[in-house]
């Protein structure tokens, strides 16, 4: 390990927000009672982070990339490769990888993009698909694997493929499932045309396999939405990322609940640690996650942790749920405050992006960020939230600044010059 303070980044996924009318115009962060987050604000330096530039919203993948110091504008190749890597598929050069949703379709129209947030049985559906596609499609190998909840990954492996194809996911319910097509720039590219044709065959055959699968028969019997189609999106090839240890000279661990971010960690060569009880939902065991962070910080120079639940409440437009999820983040932070040695640890608490319940999607709003512990100069901010942070000393920094800010507090970043 490096002879410097341990660096811990704890992200509440999508934790930042906008004023909520039902909360008297406060945000979910401002309206709730979060004593540990407030303690971090009181004892730390507070402000805002723009992942890429003010106003530009990001995904969980690009949001984590930029915080870890890898410019997504330069290195991002799409969501698919991270998702596939995260579920354990080794994406190779030439492969085209997709993120997929298990989805409910009814009379040709999407009823629920997340199949009622299906929690069990997707492994059986994926196994059935694996058997059906064991000979591939049109000479191309098809690798399909379930991830957490409604999520899955798909990799096409073979000659003459191209990632420049459109999403099969229309990103809304109530519409038909679109065909996969080459993107405008690749409209005449034979490889993109071939890739799109294979995807369309995959989607159609998978629907035939899934619709009457016993998992869905059972779901219908229980009044649940069937996962009777799978819709791929985010096509991409394997990204070329310098390993974290090589980039920073630091040993590192990642404790996250979403495979897309886990995939990023695997690409970066970080120790991706699984925590029993970490579900990515409201039932996640945040104290087990926090304890895993404490243990990882004892054996690594750098630890990044993401707790997914706040983002789910944001996407669902459910302020009460999002506040309960932030309370789980608060509990986890409380455990860190008790368990870590703050003379030799620096902590950043923030989010990968904002997911306001009023927007029900990621926005490009500036993200609240606080630094606490070794090396930090506390400012006058007293509580954790969007508005209180306006007068913090961090002011407004970019995502690509985070690793050098953390490295400075920890003492691991060499000075430039003599």
């Amino acid at each position: 390990m490096h002879n410097s303070a341990a660096q811990v980044i704890l992200l509440g996924d999508g934790m930042g927000g906008r004023p909520v009318p039902a909360l008297d115009g406060q945000t979910c962060l401002e309206a709730g009672d979060y004593p540990a987050l407030d303690e971090v604000a009181k004892g730390g330096e507070c402000g805002y982070m723009d992942p890429i530039r003010p106003g530009q919203g990001v995904g969980s993948d690009t949001g984590h990339m930029v915080i870890l110091g890898y410019d997504p504008v330069e290195y991002y190749t799409g969501r698919g490769p991270f998702e596939a890597k995260g579920v354990g598929i080794d994406v190779q050069p030439g492969d085209v990888a997709f993120r997929c949703n298990f989805t409910t379709i009814e009379n040709g129209v999407i009823k629920d993009r997340r199949a009622g947030r299906i929690a069990e049985g997707t492994d059986q559906l994926a196994a059935a698909a694996g058997e059906a596609f064991s000979d591939g499609i049109d000479g191309v190998e098809v690798i399909f694997k379930e991830s957490v909840a409604h999520r899955a990954a798909l990799v096409l492996r073979g000659e003459g493929l191209d990632p420049r194809v459109t999403d099969v996911d229309p990103h809304e319910a109530g519409v038909e499932v679109p065909q996969c097509r080459p993107t405008a720039e690749a409209s005449n590219d034979p490889a993109a045309q071939k890739t799109a044709a294979i995807i369309n065959k995959f989607v159609q055959r998978a629907q035939e396999i899934f619709d009457n699968h016993q998992v869905n028969q059972q779901r219908r019997a229980e009044g649940l939405l069937p996962a009777n189609i799978v819709i791929p999106r985010g096509a991409g090839t394997a990204p070329h990322l310098t390993p974290f240890s090589e980039q920073y000279g630091l040993s590192s661990a990642m404790i996250v609940e979403v495979d897309i971010v886990r995939g990023l960690g695997l690409y970066l060569g970080m120790d991706v640690i699984d925590v029993p009880g970490a579900t990515g939902g409201m039932d996640t065991d945040e104290m087990a996650i926090a304890q895993a962070v404490v243990e990882a910080a004892a054996s690594h120079d750098f630890v990044l942790c993401n707790i997914k639940a706040p983002d789910v409440g944001g996407h669902d437009g459910n302020a009460e749920q999002k506040m309960a999820a932030i309370a789980k983040v608060d509990h986890a932070v409380g455990h860190l405050l008790n368990a870590l040695d703050w003379d030799s640890t620096v902590l950043m608490v923030s989010a990968d992006h904002c997911t306001p319940v009023t927007a029900m999607d990621h926005t490009g709003d500036a993200i609240p960020v606080a630094f606490y512990g070794h090396g930090v100069r506390p400012d006058a901010v007293e509580s954790f939230g969007e508005r209180p942070f306006a007068t913090g000393s961090v002011q407004r920094v970019r995502g690509l600044d985070i690793m050098s800010i953390m490295g400075n507090y920890a003492g691991s970043l060499p000075k430039f010059g003599a």
Copy 2:
């Protein structure tokens, strides 16, 4: 139209300033009573904008370019093409365009660079020049047209021209009119030498035509300064700018009082809307302008409006006049606050640059900026001004960030990543 909130940018030209001793050290924005601007500050997010970088002053052309997301460092080719386009001259590839001032010269020395801010008769002077130069100069076509007040545009069209020539405008009174010369880098370039020679002939012959023109005989009889010379500056070729609709996928309108900005709007393919009563001076009908903005916002995704008057008071060093001009901006903002639906509109109120009365010119001071309406997270700032905005949540952003900030609030900017 786009399925997102309408975006409106209202700029008080040169509205930002510096402390004025006669106002007890307050700025013109701070010293006046502007209830609508204060309402925007109270209900909005406030801070500062640096058009290019902190300290770097800009013109009205570059100031508007950067707010619209076109980097002037990369795309600016001089003031002349915008001015010429703004008065209706189609600047073609190979043309060299100039901004001109009708000016008063007396005994070979410039007495007033703006000919007493001449308001009428410049069309007759321009027509006389058009007749005199109908055969061109040295085989080059000469197109000269009046603009608003003392402003005019000149375009040279022909073989072997070059924009790298110096201004004939010395930017101050009390000095002789300088000769046009090739710039240092183009000192041996035959095209620049030819262009400079033509400009010098144009200036000399135009002076001969104007000095005894009946318009100036009448002005002298009325005790007004004659517009007896015209001085070109800001030589440039046609810029290459991606149309606004193509850049952002938004329909757009521009309502401005100055031809140089109108020219930018025309280059960008925006709907440039003329408002009867919009004069660019203290007598402008700001309520007609505001109503035009309301109507444009009903039929366009994006509207940019500039009210010129505050800049005039700044250039003239007249705090009282500048405050009266800001009050006109305040009235316009008040009308917007009453007339627009703030559940589906986002507003930015700012300026293209600061024109402090103590500097009597544009400065590179950070410009106060406030965002109001859809998607905005109000901060604790309660009044509109340079000092109050120091604690606003916008902190300090760049001009090139504005379009993504607006697109985020409006919901028109796609996220990057998944």
